[in-house]
């Protein structure tokens, strides 16, 4: 019964998403612009006149060039970015009355939250994968910088990358879905989301190498979940003994703990918001 409701609700979320082509187009365009415009223009690697040096190798955590370094960060950035709209959908669902239908249904609130999160995570994985594919493709286009992978990456590496994206997506989707159930105003929601998102992104190594950061920021960045997820990607894509103190599995472990804590917290908040007052 629970499984059936869970599956039906997840399918509903995905159907709703697939049937808004403009929203899909918009969400695809965002990573595309970041990779094609922002990434190409903000290519720090070009500031180095004589090609990769030991210093740049350290700065880029083993990546052969800045764009490759940046692409891995962009994958995670897009994953986090894709979670933003999920909570806004919850607010729209509330306004449409759809959430009322759910609250009077004999369905566990955990299932309701779980379905929203699953659908959100699936979307994030899709977009994350799209960014990797685009960045890899750019490497073969004349006049464009692209992602160069310096390792022979196996199924385990691919799985680790997918798990890193999924864990981060789970944590943030739960957070934003819970926010959606608590808040009534879309405006308030986006204000809060930016309060969470931007500091998290800027205090991570997604875009800027930690060598450029002051020490205090470096400390924050090293524990930032975005950094942890990016590390899993970079360590698999550009393995280099000169940088990584820990294996990707360790980062994944910490990420998993973070995701579990977020899911727990957000379940409690959502159940409270959906229960009768």
């Amino acid at each position: 019964m629970t499984l059936r409701a869970y599956r039906a609700l997840t399918v509903r979320e995905l159907k709703r998403w697939i049937r808004t082509p403009t929203a899909i187009a918009a969400s695809i365009m965002t990573p595309f612009f970041y990779l094609l415009l922002f990434g190409q223009a903000f290519n720090l690697g070009k500031l180095i006149p004589s090609g990769p040096t030991p210093e740049t190798l350290i700065a880029f955590q083993g990546a052969p060039d800045y764009y490759s370094y940046f692409s891995a960060g962009m994958v995670i950035f897009v994953v986090v970015f894709s979670t933003l709209f999920i909570g806004a959908n919850v607010i729209f669902d509330k306004r449409l009355g759809y959430v009322k239908k759910l609250t009077v249904a004999p369905v566990s609130r955990v299932v309701i939250l779980g379905a929203s999160v699953s659908a959100g995570v699936l979307r994030c994985l899709l977009f994350g994968g799209l960014v990797i594919a685009l960045a890899l493709g750019f490497a073969h286009l004349p006049g464009l910088a692209g992602l160069t992978v310096t390792a022979a990456i196996g199924p385990l590496g691919v799985a680790e990358i997918a798990v890193a994206m999924a864990l981060l997506a789970t944590a943030f989707t739960s957070l934003f879905v819970a926010l959606g159930y608590v808040l009534e105003q879309v405006e308030a929601y986006f204000a809060l989301v930016n309060l969470v998102n931007l500091p998290l992104l800027f205090s991570s190594t997604a875009i800027a190498p930690s060598t450029l950061m002051p020490d205090w920021l470096k400390t924050i960045a090293s524990g930032n979940p975005i950094t942890l997820a990016v590390n899993v990607l970079r360590e698999n894509l550009f393995p280099w003994s000169g940088y990584y103190p820990y294996p990707p599995e360790l980062y994944l472990g910490v990420l998993a703990a973070f995701a579990i804590a977020m899911v727990g917290l957000c379940t409690a908040v959502t159940v409270r918001a959906l229960n009768p007052r």
Binding site: L96, A105, P106, P276
Partner: protein, 340 residues
């Protein structure tokens, strides 16, 4: 209607109270018993406490005092079991407008765990009953207000609930749509044996549809009874007839007709008080004709909500509701319907 025999009490509230955090007392000691198979109406203006009562009975709101049971189960202690036994149709549409009508019903079937083998045929039957078969594969966002409401009704009874709650089921619909909903609600009761608890602020709707009506105002029940009992208290329908020949005294002739409560001579004709205006009208016309004074015009005035309110609450209907709350709700609903 009152000749129908009903089952044991299925909804029981005992001094039910709800005080909102702001201090507003929305429900102030409501005690009612609704019997199985009954169509029971809560009649009152906006803000009277109708929706709050429905909210408590459907486990969406927690009562501040008193208690309520549905099918013998306390709505607070056994919320999950209560949810399984009830269907609920809200004022607003709760369908996902990006899904088709049929997909919405399939989702409801999954949420209520309707056996998969039963779900398909039952959905077919309900779509048919709601005249939605032809549009079942269209996205709900293309539906008219009446179609949406019928889809809500179908979803409300899909899991064969024991009690169906309808919160203002016809709000914002045109007269045709309202009539259609009324017919459907009666069929649900007759065919599926479901008990119906509805709220409305249309007196005529409550009159035509309900076996019993409770008039609620300021969170309190002001009157409770069958439509005819309540109308009787207010004075019933008023039939105004203007005969072609004013010289014939029709008072004794009309007074003698069964169902006439009183006849009063007015300027150009007569005011006839009755409980059954529609049924009496042709008989009055016939009697006048037989008496040699054919009727020139007839007007039937039913007791309006204002009169009922005046009678039972001692105040005019919309006195302290703020500027046209009903119209606002209507407009918002129309807006919702129009949006694509």
């Amino acid at each position: 209607m009152s000749s129908r025999s009903f089952g044991p009490p299925i909804i029981v509230t005992d001094r039910l109270e709800k005080v909102y955090p702001g201090g507003t007392k929305a429900v102030a000691g409501v005690s009612v018993e609704v019997r199985a198979g009954e169509i029971f109406g809560f009649l009152g203006p906006n803000g009277a406490g109708k929706s709050t009562t429905v909210g408590i009975l459907t486990t969406l709101l927690r009562p501040s005092g008193g208690r309520a049971t549905v099918d013998g189960l306390d709505v607070v202690d056994h919320a999950a079991e209560v949810r399984r036994r009830i269907g609920l149709v809200f004022q607003e549409s709760t369908s996902d407008d990006q899904l088709t009508g049929r997909e919405n019903l399939e989702l409801t079937a999954a949420l209520y765990d309707v056996p998969p083998a039963d779900a398909g045929p039952r959905i077919d039957r309900l779509l048919e009953a709601m005249s939605l078969s032809a549009v079942q594969h269209r996205l709900v966002k293309t539906y008219s207000g009446g179609m949406r409401r019928r889809l809500e009704l179908a979803a409300g009874v899909l899991h064969t609930p024991k009690v169906l709650f309808l919160d203002e089921p016809t709000l914002g619909l045109d007269p045709q749509g309202r009539a259609g909903i009324g017919e459907v609600v009666r069929r649900m009761r007759d065919e599926f044996g479901v008990t119906v608890f509805l709220t409305t602020h249309y007196l005529d709707e409550a009159d035509q549809l309900c076996d019993r009506i409770a008039i609620i105002d300021h969170g309190e029940i002001k009157a409770l009874g069958t439509p005819s009992e309540l109308k009787e208290k207010v004075g019933g329908d008023v039939l105004t007839i203007v005969p072609q020949r004013p010289d014939v005294d029709l008072v004794p002739i009309v007074s003698a007709l069964p169902g006439v409560v009183g006849v009063q001579r007015v300027e150009s004709g007569y005011r006839v008080k009755t409980l059954r205006g529609e049924a009496l009208t042709p008989r009055v016309v016939q009697a006048c004709h037989d008496a040699g004074a054919p009727v020139a015009s007839v007007a039937l005035k039913r007791p309006s909500l204002d009169e009922v309110f005046l009678e039972f609450t001692g105040r005019a209907y919309r006195e302290d509701e703020g500027p046209g709350a009903t119209e606002m709700a209507l407009r918002m609903n129309q807006f919702r319907g129009r949006r694509r």
